[in-house]
Amino acid sequence: MIGNDEQTIHALRDAMATEVRGHHLDPEIAAAATDQLGSARRHGGKYAAVAACAVGAVTVALVYAVTGSNAQHGATAPTGSACNGAVFTSALPVWARAGFSPDSYVNAHVTGAGDEIIGVLFADPLRSPPAPDRNNKILWVAKDPGTGPLVIRAHLEGADQEATRTVPGGPGPSIIDLPAPGCWKLTLTWSGHRDTLAVPYTG
């Protein structure tokens, strides 16, 4: 049926026109994006600005807006805290879903500002000191996990306290206990990659 480029393009357009017929953008997606227009301007500060550039972060924010089910556990943090809205209990970013069943796409998680890594929280909330009956388990999922260790440098917001943790096998399952409750800003480095995120620990 296809003899030259014009005919090929024509056939392709016909086929795709039929294929996409009846498929329209979900109005809720459009509405959520419009809401993001406001929140991006509303938040200030270094972390919020970086987060606004992170596709993954805004993706989960969208799902929150669409589903209305995204509890943001940092909401009780002081105004301007990096932990405000840091933890999402919505669908994981698409790129991070490999290995998860569709039923477990929705899970508490934090997202790197650079969209390079997320931390899936299997303890929600994380606690300091650790809860006696549940570990502070975080599954780190990186776009490029690499082969080297994951080094986490943590700084407690509003204080001088710092801590360093290493996950020898690189991004993957870990138990991350930190020395005090509060909003911890983490800088994560692994196999030539670097990303930052904030994680609240509850006392």
């Binding site: 086929a15 227009l37 490999a98």
Partner: protein, 174 residues
């Protein structure tokens, strides 16, 4: 939302209204899956929204650029994770007809399958240049490649679509 510039909000809503379906269809053309296409467009619109006040020229071009990059990122992730077996790049273009005569549906699906079988960047070129009617320059800008690469990639993509169409399968019927 009180500090939102109503004019900017209206402009953004108009942009989404005008471009939303086109972006969704382009995303589908690139990734071959409606669910992923919606996810991609979500990402793109949120990114555009977060930078709306700073996008002073051609927001559509910026959106297509975000879309192309998000799709490439997604494809790279799928390639790194072997447990994912639904990578659209491995979908076969062979669709034997058995004893049935060829139909328009067969032709359409074969073209779509052939599109999905193109390498991701070549597929993106074909989608943006020939399905979305972007100029060669805009396609190049969206994909971060040269106009020459758009021309050559588009030509190769069309050639592969041409060779994937029903004629090879007619031998099956004999």
């Amino acid at each position: 939302m009180a500090d939102i510039d109503h004019e900017q909000r209206a402009e953004f809503e108009n942009f989404v209204s005008a471009q939303g379906d086109r972006l969704l269809h382009a995303a589908y053309g690139m990734c071959g899956d409606w669910q992923h296409a919606e996810d991609l467009v979500q990402q793109v619109l949120l990114k555009v929204a977060s930078r709306w006040s700073r996008i002073t020229d051609n927001p559509g071009g910026y959106a297509y650029r975000c879309l192309a990059r998000a799709n490439i990122d997604r494809w790279r992730m799928l390639r790194r994770r072997p447990e994912i077996i639904t990578d659209p790049t491995v979908i076969t273009v062979v669709r034997p007809r058995g004893d049935r005569p060829p139909s328009d549906v067969d032709d359409r699906l074969t073209v779509i399958d052939a599109l999905r079988a193109l390498p991701p960047r070549q597929r993106a070129i074909v989608v943006l240049r020939y399905l979305q009617d972007l100029s060669e320059a805009d396609t190049a800008h969206a994909l971060g490649i040269s106009v020459g690469a758009v021309k050559s990639g588009g030509a190769r993509g069309l050639a592969r679509l041409r060779t994937a169409n029903p004629s090879p399968f007619q031998e099956v019927e004999r």
